[in-house]
């Protein structure tokens, strides 16, 4: 049987079946494999990307179900012969995947024979597995099958252009309505129910670092008259308030009198969030400013601060920005397109619940995104938020892989030199799926021009710093309340940073045990 480890492992042949099992972390025991005595000859590859220790039984069920489906000839052998099955544990309780989903590959108009099935072990029910596999695999030969089962909300599109990002935007623009309906603040959706950004020790250390920089600049007679510090993505405003409280106290304690020169900028693209933050920092109002900025391009509205800001901090912003994904299979490149849908059953249920003809379902979703939940129905916002919540819960993404000759044929983050991406992909592994973190990359490149020559950027977020780690765990997209979360490709971001003249360092967030976040900080590249 295959052993643990992340190398490719060839499993033993069982009669005339050949299985190649790709194990990333966990040993897999499939005793039931030996009962099959079929004589079909094909190669099917099972990739075990992540199986928690207590879920090996369900992983075994998946493998044996696959064999059953093959042995019973419920699916055409040519489908099975071109099949890659990926098992993973999607850590987000709500996400955009079905338990079993099919992904085709295309080149131009041509549908390629190569197929992939993704299995979310978390959602798998052993009793329904076989049916779900058969259903998914039948779609491989019947391109119309999907439209019978689903109500599509958009055509296939690069992921960063998907309608799901309009939902994400809706969430931040109408946060108070969502929170009222949910009965809790958005931070409750975080693993600990609160943001690590507010951790008092982390804030105190950040303030101490900043004060040290100011002292050094003053020592060289280079301290600017106005000391700009900025937070992008202000959350509840609690971190900004804690930072300012701490800075004022330290400044007073050391007698440096920097505090009155601070110009603290709170920037966010959500006005409700800014309004909330304004209240949180009310004790520092005389030196705080609140700015509506595009998270993808802060420079656009802040160009007057070019090379002036000494410290910029972001928490959980990059993981919430649009991204595209690249898939490498056997050394060939694909970019991922998706189309959002709601299952026909869910669409019917939601339509009935909200008194909408099923034929009007998609149009009503479009209206929700256009006018907002409060204007969706004459009865008021409550109806709109309930509809919004029901649709958001039901939204899934159908994916397909578009074959490309070179990474340059993919939708690339703006501002990145093509050679850098070619090099990045060229050094990658043969089988991989990873984020381009398009929004994060663009945001980074459009933020660093604000930095003073001695300034620095700190970003607290969930980063994948080693490309190979993408194969070891599901990295998104997931749903976090009404917003989207994706891990951020830190390995790519580090290369992008170097291109822009910054070395990027990633330090695990050590202030809370078990935290998955890291702090990215920049130093100037010599």
């Amino acid at each position: 049987m295959p052993s643990a480890g992340h190398n490719f492992v060839t499993g033993r042949s069982i009669y005339s079946y050949e299985f190649v099992l790709s194990c990333s972390r966990w040993a897999l025991s499939i005793p039931s494999l030996v009962v099959y005595k079929a004589v079909l000859v094909f190669l099917m590859i099972l990739h075990v990307n992540q199986v928690p220790p207590n879920q090996t039984a369900i992983a075994g069920s998946v493998a044996s179900t696959l064999l059953t489906v093959a042995a019973e000839r419920q699916v055409q052998s040519r489908v099975l012969e071109n099949l890659n099955v990926h098992l993973e544990w999607v850590q987000y309780k709500t996400n955009f995947r079905e338990a079993v989903s099919l992904r085709r590959a295309i080149r131009g108009e041509e549908v390629l024979p190569w197929l992939e099935v993704g299995v979310d072990l978390r959602q798998c029910r052993p009793d329904a597995l076989k049916e779900e596999f058969v259903d998914a695999l039948k779609e491989a030969t019947d391109v119309q099958a999907g439209s019978k089962k689903r109500v599509y909300l958009e055509p296939f599109t690069p992921i960063r252009s998907s309608i799901i990002w309009r939902f994400n935007n809706l969430f931040w623009q109408h946060l108070p309505l969502w929170e009222t309906a949910a009965g809790h603040g958005f931070e409750k959706a975080l693993p600990t129910g609160t943001s690590d950004a507010n951790h008092p020790e982390a804030v105190a250390d950040a303030v101490a670092d900043f004060w040290t920089l100011l002292k050094d600049l003053e020592g060289h007679n280079l301290l600017p008259a106005e000391i700009f510090a900025m937070e992008i993505g202000v959350g509840t405003g609690r971190r900004a308030a804690a930072w300012l409280d701490r800075f004022r106290a330290l400044d007073h304690e050391r007698g440096t009198n920097y505090y009155p020169r601070i110009r603290f900028l709170l920037a966010d693209y959500s006005m409700p969030t800014l309004n909330r933050a304004m209240e949180a920092v009310r004790n520092h109002r005389e030196l705080a400013s609140f700015l509506a900025v595009d998270a993808l391009d802060p420079f656009k509205s802040l160009s007057f601060l070019r090379y002036k800001v000494l410290s910029i901090h972001l928490t959980n912003v990059y993981d919430n920005l649009p991204t595209d994904e690249i898939v490498v299979r056997d050394g060939k490149l694909y970019f991922v397109e998706s189309r959002a849908y709601v299952s026909a059953a869910a669409a019917t249920r939601i339509s009935e619940e909200f008194g909408i003809p099923l034929t009007e379902f998609s149009r009503t979703v479009g209206r929700l995104l256009e006018v907002g939940p409060q204007h969706l129905h004459h009865s008021g916002g409550e109806y709109g938020v309930q509809f919004w919540t029901a649709v958001w819960d039901a939204i899934r993404l159908e994916e397909r892989f578009v074959a490309i000759q070179s990474i340059l044929d993919a939708p690339l983050p703006a501002g990145v030199k093509p050679g850098l991406l070619e090099k990045f992909v060229g050094e990658g592994v043969m089988n991989q799926r990873f984020h381009l973190s398009s929004g994060a990359v663009e945001s980074f490149l459009n933020t660093v021009p604000l930095l003073h020559p001695r300034g620095y950027l700190q970003v607290q977020d969930i980063f994948v710093t080693n490309l190979e780690d993408y194969g070891r765990m599901f990295r998104g997209p997931g749903k976090m309340d009404g917003s989207i979360v994706n891990w951020v490709n830190g390995a790519l971001l580090a290369d992008v940073g170097a291109q822009a003249g910054y070395d990027l360092h990633f330090a695990p967030f050590h202030y809370r045990e078990g935290s998955r976040t890291s702090i990215l900080y920049t130093t100037h590249r010599e």
Binding site: L222, Y307, K417, G419, V448, P453, R454, G501, Y502, E526
Partner: protein
């Protein structure tokens, strides 16, 4: 070769094409030979010369496209400097280089690159050299007792090279000393070293001081006040300073400290891809003319165009030339 009033030129570097960056890096990965790279450089330099001519510049450089960065081109050639050729993978990085003994007098063979430039243009040609103060900030010193001593010896060796450049026909030589802005406390001895460097060199010498352009971003903040009055002792004919990005406030210093220098006025912000209009250029020049007479003004970008995409660099230079023509017309030229 006579120049018009308000001569236009570049600070030194021209846009580094992405393909050339890749090929330079390929060289470090030992995937192309030195000979291939030299030929590639020749082609790239010819293209840079042509772009500058078409843009309408009066004084042309080789675009500094043979250089990895402003340090290594010299560190590699300087006799007595030991360079660890395994110490970088990306061309733009700096080598680890060190001096372990007194620098011997020997040629850097920079004149060959000037001759190549001069043979492919009929216009006036300028050659740019990184100054000793900047070089000592990046080359590790294990021999001299202090930076000034090391820089003085570098100046002694490089003085011979500047004379060779002048003999090869270089009428315009520019010394780049951006690290002055990072270490203003060094200026006193920096100027003495500069004077050693240029002593007896039969060419017009310009001194370029900016706030850094590494990776297309400034390395330091501040203003040019620190240069005065010490810089008045420099035996150079021209100061080339950046005014486009930082605004023209420091022009006041030329009123406050009357001096004999020509002024190379930076009118193009090389740290943004936004292309200035000719009118903006003209306005920036009008401001400079309030402090320095037209006969003593040269027109340049703030710093090298290295980090700008080719189409942006070209468009900026064209705008610079067109904006300058507006002012020449206003001056009756």
């Amino acid at each position: 070769m006579s120049l018009p009033i308000l001569p236009t030129t570049v600070v030194g570097s021209y846009s580094m094409p992405g393909w050339l960056e890749r090929l330079k890096t390929e060289f470090f990965a030992r995937r192309i030979s030195r000979q291939d790279l030299d030929e590639i450089h020749d082609v790239a330099v010819k293209a840079a010369i042509k772009d500058q001519e078409v843009a309408g510049l009066d004084i042309i450089t080789d675009g500094e496209l043979r250089r990895d960065n402003m340090i290594d081109y010299f560190a590699e050639r300087l006799p007595g400097i030991q360079t660890d050729h395994t110490s970088k993978k990306f061309y733009y990085d700096f080598y680890d280089s060190v001096v372990r003994g007194k620098l011997p007098m020997a040629s850097l063979r920079l004149a060959d690159d000037f001759r190549f430039l001069a043979s492919f243009t009929d216009r006036a040609a300028k050659f740019c050299v990184t100054g000793p103060h900047s070089l000592v900030k990046r080359i590790k010193d294990e021999h001299y007792k202090n930076e000034q001593a090391f820089a003085t010896d570098l100046a002694r060796v490089m003085n011979m090279e500047l004379k060779e450049l002048a003999r090869a026909g270089a009428r315009y030589i520019q010394i780049d000393e951006p690290y002055y802005s990072g270490f203003p406390e060094d200026l006193q001895w920096g100027v003495k070293v500069l004077n050693t460097l240029v002593e007896g060199v039969d060419a017009k010498i310009a001194l370029h001081v900016c706030y850094g352009n590494r990776y297309g971003k400034p390395s330091w903040a501040g203003n040019y006040r620190y240069l005065f009055p010490t810089i008045l002792e420099a035996n150079v004919q021209q100061l080339t300073l950046e005014f486009a990005r930082r605004g023209g406030e420091d022009l006041e210093l030329f009123k406050e400290y009357p001096n004999k220098f020509e002024l190379g006025v930076g009118v193009i912000d090389v740290k943004t891809h936004e292309v200035e209009t000719p009118d903006i250029i003209a306005e920036r020049l009008r401001k400079a003319l309030k402090f320095v007479p037209a006969e003593r003004i040269f027109v340049l970008p703030d710093c090298g165009c290295l980090h700008l995409p080719q189409e942006v660099a070209f468009a900026k230079l064209r705008a610079m030339v067109q904006g300058t023509k507006i002012i020449r017309k206003e001056l009756g030229g």
